[in-house]
Amino acid sequence: MNPTEDQIYVIIFATLFLGGIMSTFVISMVFIHRQRQVQNRQKMDQIKSEHEKTLLNIENEIQQETLTYIGRELHDNIGQLLSLAKLNFGSLKENKREEGKEILSQAIQEVRGLSKQLNLDWVETLSINEFIAQQLERIQNTGFCEASLEADLELLDLPKDHKLVLIRVIQESLNNAIKHASPDKIHVSIYENGSSKHILIKDDGKGFDTSQDSQGSGMFNLRKRMETIGGQFELNSVIGKGTEITLTLPN
């Protein structure tokens, strides 16, 4: 073999070597892609299962809350109406019996209203605006504090899982305000800022130090729940100046 042939072989070898490196690179990339694809799918399955678990928990909590509300309504409202109807039916006066019939009709209507809340079908039919208005009306009716709603837009066409999470987060935020803040006024506003929609829950109660651990876990759960649907939860509170919770809806 003369030196010229030698050099040509070196060039051929170098070309084949480079080709080999490129082939190895591409094949390795395909293998890494496959591995990461499997990992990614496992991660997605885990997120999906966590999401489903969160939704299930939320449904349970809403049902629990509804049952408590129904129990209270049965005792405080329907029970009272039925007792009154019983008294009226026991009377000898015709007008009292008529009044008793009206009270009984009212009680039947209340029972029908309550029965609709026993399953979660109401979540489908009720809009978020209507739900907030309903909750604020209840608070207002108890005389605990003044409650108002200001809505620049109607939150319609939300997927059921988004609605469930929002309902639970709003419910919990309002409950926290009532239980811990002793406010004179709770104000909720629904507004749009650019392309994002927000719900602001504001009270003028005691407020708290947001860095304290005691408040931490509850708020952490609410934040995490909003994140499971791609939304955001923001909390601002100053001792003596009330609390502001901003929920940013997923786009």
Partner: protein, 259 residues
């Protein structure tokens, strides 16, 4: 003159590229309007068309010595009026490289597109500066510009592969069913092998002219492979069972080159 042109122009490479262009035009015209406006489909056709134009121009230049001599004189080359490497330098090494970079840019994830923009700018500025200052004149072989072009294309292909193993859109897809994967792979091989081949060919030319001419066939075969793949990109919407939709395909996009 005409027979001289055909003699200089006709060979298996130019004929194959011509046929690929004709098939490409036929299928491009059959594409829906929305796809015709997408650079994913018109850019491969532009590259194919450009290849045919510069090969035809190469044939014309080789058949018209006076014209070739005049251009060489204009570029400052009075020593070798037979050279037509300036055409190959400007069309194949520079413009085609930039067009391929634009093509790769369509496929890579949006956050990495800016790197391609930077590389195109650096490449063009370097090529212009090197040619104007006479470091690598347009009428001679340009190993540095060729090396820069090859390296930039290799880095761009690398960016595509990194996206393929990190981006969720690509992780959801099957790479072997993506036309972008095959085109990037072919470009990766072409630019690395053509580079080593062209560097070695200059050296081998001094030892054995015949062997060097035979080695040029490697360039041609790889060139045909790349252009056949360009044709496949245009045809891909008609091959739904073979190729999947690209992860970053945006139907309404008017110009991917601007972003």
């Amino acid at each position: 003159m005409e027979s001289k042109f055909w003699h200089a122009y006709v060979n298996y490479y130019t004929i194959t590229v011509d046929v690929l262009l004709l098939i490409g035009i036929y299928f491009f015209l059959k594409l829906p309007k929305e796809k015709k406006a997408n650079s994913l489909y018109w850019l491969p056709l532009v590259i194919l068309g450009f290849s045919v134009i510069y090969e035809a121009l190469g044939g014309y230049v080789n058949s018209n010595f006076e014209f070739k001599k005049a251009v060489n004189e204009f570029l400052g080359n009075t020593e070798n009026p037979m050279y037509n490497i300036w055409l190959y330098n400007i069309s194949n090494k520079q413009i085609t490289t930039v067009l391929f970079l634009f093509l790769i840019k369509i496929w890579i994830e949006p956050s990495k597109k800016k790197y391609i923009n930077w590389m195109i700018s650096i490449f063009l500025i370097t090529a212009v500066v090197f040619q104007l200052t006479g470091v690598e004149p347009l009428y001679l072989d340009q190993p540095f510009i060729a090396a820069l072009a090859a390296n930039i294309v290799l880095v761009s292909c690398g960016l595509y592969f990194i996206g393929m193993i990190t981006n969720d859109h690509y992780l959801d897809s099957h790479p072997l069913r993506l036309i972008s994967f095959w085109q990037t792979t072919i470009l990766l091989f072409t630019y690395s092998l053509i580079y080593i081949n062209s560097v070695a060919r200059i050296y081998i030319f001094g030892i054995s002219r015949e062997l060097a001419i035979n080695m040029a066939n490697i360039d041609r075969v790889l060139g045909i492979s790349v252009r056949a793949m360009l044709l496949l990109i245009i045809i891909s919407p008609f091959l739904n069972k073979v190729f999947d939709r690209e992860p970053f395909y945006v139907p309404s996009r008017k110009s991917d080159l601007i972003s």
